[in-house]
C-alpha cells in the first residue's frame, strides 16, 4: 500500500510535468510572437527577448522634413484635400525607405516649424498635441498597420472566411444528402460503389493533383475565382464528411425514418426534419475539421489565386516571409493577424469546439 502511494505520487508528478511543459511550449512561442510584434526591426535583432521599447517611447523621435517624391505616396486623397502639407520621415524607423512618413497639414503647424526647410529635422515633442498623439499612435502600431495595409490582409481575411464558410456549408449539405442515401436507402451495391469512390478521395490531397487540376480549371476560366477555389475545397472535403456522416446516420434507428414515411413524409421532409436535427453533433464535428483545414490551406490558393481578390490569409502571411524580405517586425505582425482571430474564437467557444471535434462521430 505504501509503495503504491509513492508510485502514485510519482505518476501524478510526471503527469503534471508533461502537461505543464506542453502548455508552456504552446504558450511561450505565442507570447514571444505577440510582444515581439511590437518591436522595431532593429530591436528584434539587438535583443531577441527584450520587451518592446522603441516604438512605445517615441516622444523624442526625430523626423526629417523631406521633399515630395515619387516614392512618397500620400495617405490622403490629393484631389479633394488640397491643403498644403509638410512631409516628414522618421529617422529611426526605416529611414530613407519612405515606410514611416507623415503628411502634416501646414495650417495646423506653428510658425517656428513651418520656417524649417527640407532636410531639417524636428522632434515629435515639438508638434501640436493632436498631431503628436496621432503620430505616436501610428508609431506604436507601425508593424500592424504596415502589415495589414501593405499585405491587404483585411481582404484576405474576408476571403479565408468565405472559403471556409461557404465550402463547409456545401460540404455539410452535400454529405448529409449522400450519407442519407448510402445508409438509409436500399441500394447496397450502388452505395458500395459510391461510398468506395468517395472514400478513396480521403487518401488524396490537393497537392497530389494540383498540376492537372490547375490545367483543367484554367481551361474553364475557373482559376482566380472564388467559385473555382470553393469547388475544389468542397470536393476534397467531401470524403471525410461522407465517411463521418454515414457512420453517424447509420446509427439513427431506421424505424424513425420508416414511421415518418408511413405518415406520408417525403424524403426531403425526412432529411430536413429528422436527419438534420439529429445529425447536428456530427455536423459540428465535420464543420470544425473541414473549416479548420480550409482556413489553414496554403498550396491550392497559392497556385489557383492570382489577384488580391482571391488570395487567402495563409498566402498573405507567407508573402511576408519570402526569401528576401527584410521587415521582420511586419512578418511577426502578419503572423499575429492570422493567429489572433482564430485564437479568440477558440478561447470563447473552447469547450464546445473540443467536444464538437468528436461529437460522438468517431466511435470506438
Amino acid at each position: 500500500m505504501e509503495k503504491n502511494t509513492s508510485k502514485h505520487i510519482i505518476g501524478r508528478t510526471v503527469a503534471y510535468i508533461v502537461f505543464i511543459s506542453w502548455t508552456l511550449i504552446t504558450i511561450l512561442p505565442i507570447f514571444w510572437m505577440a510582444y515581439s510584434s511590437f518591436k522595431s526591426n532593429e530591436e528584434l535583432t539587438r535583443n531577441i527577448y527584450a520587451f518592446p521599447y522603441e516604438l512605445f517611447h517615441n516622444e523624442d523621435d526625430v523626423y526629417e522634413i523631406i521633399a515630395p517624391q515619387l516614392n512618397v505616396t500620400p495617405d490622403y486623397d490629393t484631389e479633394t484635400d488640397t491643403r498644403e502639407r509638410m512631409i516628414i520621415e522618421s529617422t529611426s524607423i526605416s529611414p530613407g525607405r519612405r515606410l514611416m512618413v507623415h503628411f502634416l497639414v501646414k495650417e495646423d503647424l506653428p510658425q517656428e516649424i513651418l520656417s524649417r526647410d527640407i532636410g531639417d529635422t524636428l522632434t515629435l515633442s515639438e508638434l501640436p498635441k493632436q498631431m503628436r498623439r496621432e503620430i505616436s499612435r501610428k508609431t506604436m502600431l507601425f508593424n500592424y498597420t504596415s502589415a495589414i495595409q501593405r499585405g491587404g490582409l483585411a481582404q484576405k481575411f474576408l476571403n479565408s472566411l468565405i472559403y471556409a464558410g461557404v465550402s463547409t456549408f456545401l460540404i455539410n449539405a452535400l454529405s448529409l444528402m449522400v450519407a442519407f442515401a448510402l445508409s438509409k436507402m436500399q441500394f447496397k451495391k450502388l452505395s458500395l460503389i459510391v461510398g468506395g469512390l468517395i472514400g478513396f478521395g480521403y487518401l488524396l490531397s490537393v497537392n497530389s493533383v494540383i498540376i492537372p487540376l490547375f490545367l483543367m480549371l484554367s481551361k474553364m476560366g475557373l482559376t482566380d475565382t472564388h467559385i473555382g477555389i470553393i469547388l475544389v475545397y468542397t470536393a476534397f472535403g467531401l470524403p471525410l464528411a461522407v465517411l463521418l456522416d454515414t457512420q453517424f446516420i447509420s446509427g439513427i434507428p431506421g424505424s424513425l425514418v420508416e414511421s415518418a414515411r408511413i405518415d406520408g413524409a417525403s424524403t426531403w421532409r425526412v432529411i430536413v426534419s429528422i436527419i438534420v436535427p439529429m445529425a447536428i453533433p456530427v455536423t459540428v464535428t465535420v464543420s470544425i475539421i473541414t473549416a479548420l483545414g480550409i482556413w489553414n490551406e496554403f498550396l491550392l490558393v497559392l497556385v489557383l489565386a492570382s489577384s488580391e481578390f482571391t488570395k487567402s490569409l495563409p498566402v498573405g502571411v507567407f508573402s511576408f516571409s519570402s526569401l528576401t524580405s527584410t521587415q521582420l517586425g511586419w512578418q511577426l505582425a502578419a503572423l499575429m493577424v492570422a493567429t489572433a482571430p482564430a485564437m479568440i474564437v477558440y478561447f470563447i467557444f473552447q469547450r464546445r469546439l473540443t467536444e464538437g471535434v468528436v461529437g460522438g462521430a468517431i466511435k470506438g
Partner: protein, 300 residues
C-alpha cells in the same frame, strides 16, 4: 420491396448526384489525368505534342536518391504520427480521464490549441525560433554558457526530422487526445470498478479493459494519421529555408513540388511530378491496407 426500390432510385440519384459530380469533376478527372500523364512525356509548354514513354518516369524516380530520401523522411513522419501522436494522445487522454491532474479543461485547451493555428503560421514562427542566434539558440547559449552555441538540428539530414517530429507531435496530438478522451468518457465506469474489485492494477485496467474497448477508435485514428501525414506539405515547406534545410527535410509532396515546378531543366517535369504524386497515393493505400490488417488481427 423490389418495386419500391426502383421507385426510390430517382430520389437516391438526386441525393447522391450533386456531391458525386463535383467530386468526380474535381478529384477523379485529375487522377485519371495524372495517371495518363505519368506514362507520357507531355509538357504543356511544348504545344500539345507528346509520346508514350512507358514506365520511364517511374524508373527515373526509383533511381533518384532524392526519392528514397524523401520516402524515408515521409515514413518517419508516418511513424511519428502513428507511433507518436496516437499513443501520446491516448496517454494524455487517459491521464485526463482518470483525473490524474486537476484543471483538466485548462490543459485540454492548451494541448488542443495548436490545431487552431495555421500550419503556415506555425512553420514561419518556428523557423524564426530556430534561426542562428534566434530564441532557441539563445537559450542553448545561456544554458551551455557557450556564446557560439547554435541550434543546429535543422542543418543535418540525420537530425532535421527531430525538430520537425517535435513540431508534428505538438501540433496534432491534441486532436487525437480529444478524440480518445471523448470515447473514454463514454466507457461505463462500472467496468473499471468491476476490474478493481477483481484486484486489477492500474496498468492491467489500462491494458486489459481500456485499450481493447478503444481498439476501433485507435484504428480509425491511425488511418486518419497515415493519410494526413502523407499529405503534409505546408509545415515542412514553411519551417525550412530553401536549400539545404528543405532538401534535408524533404518529404514526397515537396519532392513532387520541386520536381514539377522548379526543375526547369527536366522537360518532362510535369509527367515526372505526376508519377511522384501517383506513388504517394499508392503508398498511402498500402499503409492503410496494412493498418486494417493489423487492426483485424488484433481483434481476434
Amino acid at each position: 420491396m423490389k418495386k419500391r426500390d426502383i421507385q426510390a432510385l430517382p430520389t437516391y440519384l438526386i441525393l447522391v448526384a450533386p456531391a458525386l459530380l463535383i467530386y468526380l469533376f474535381v478529384v477523379a478527372y485529375p487522377i485519371g489525368y495524372s495517371v495518363w500523364l505519368s506514362f507520357t512525356d507531355f509538357n504543356p509548354n511544348k504545344g500539345g505534342q507528346w509520346d508514350w514513354v512507358g514506365t520511364l518516369q517511374y524508373s527515373t524516380m526509383f533511381k533518384d536518391p532524392n526519392f528514397w530520401h524523401a520516402l524515408k523522411n515521409n515514413l518517419i513522419v508516418v511513424a511519428v504520427s502513428v507511433f507518436g501522436q496516437i499513443p501520446i494522445g491516448f496517454i494524455l487522454a487517459y491521464i485526463l480521464y482518470r483525473k490524474k491532474v486537476k484543471a483538466v479543461h485548462f490543459f485540454q485547451t492548451f494541448v488542443f490549441l495548436p490545431q487552431f493555428l495555421s500550419t503556415i503560421v506555425i512553420g514561419i514562427l518556428w523557423k524564426r525560433l530556430f534561426q542562428a542566434d534566434g530564441p532557441i539558440s539563445r537559450i542553448i547559449q545561456i544554458v551551455s554558457k557557450d556564446p557560439q552555441a547554435q541550434f543546429e538540428l535543422m542543418l543535418y539530414a540525420d537530425t532535421v526530422m527531430i525538430p520537425i517530429a517535435f513540431a508534428l507531435i505538438w501540433v496534432y496530438t491534441g486532436m487525437y487526445m480529444t478524440i480518445f478522451l471523448a470515447n473514454l468518457q463514454k466507457i461505463d465506469d462500472h467496468l473499471i470498478e468491476a476490474a478493481k474489485i477483481d484486484g486489477a492494477t492500474e496498468s492491467q485496467i489500462f491494458l486489459k479493459v481500456i485499450v481493447p474497448l478503444l481498439a476501433g477508435t485507435i484504428l480509425v485514428s491511425s488511418i486518419l494519421a497515415i493519410a494526413g501525414s502523407l499529405r503534409g506539405f505546408d509545415l515542412i515547406f514553411s519551417i525550412t529555408t530553401q536549400g539545404l534545410q528543405r532538401n534535408n527535410a524533404m518529404v514526397l509532396p515537396i519532392f513532387m513540388y520541386q520536381s514539377a515546378f522548379q526543375n526547369y531543366t527536366n522537360e518532362m517535369r510535369f509527367a515526372y511530378g505526376a508519377a511522384i504524386s501517383n506513388i504517394i497515393v499508392v503508398i498511402s493505400l498500402i499503409l492503410i491496407g496494412i493498418s486494417r490488417l493489423v487492426g483485424k488481427k488484433t481483434d481476434y
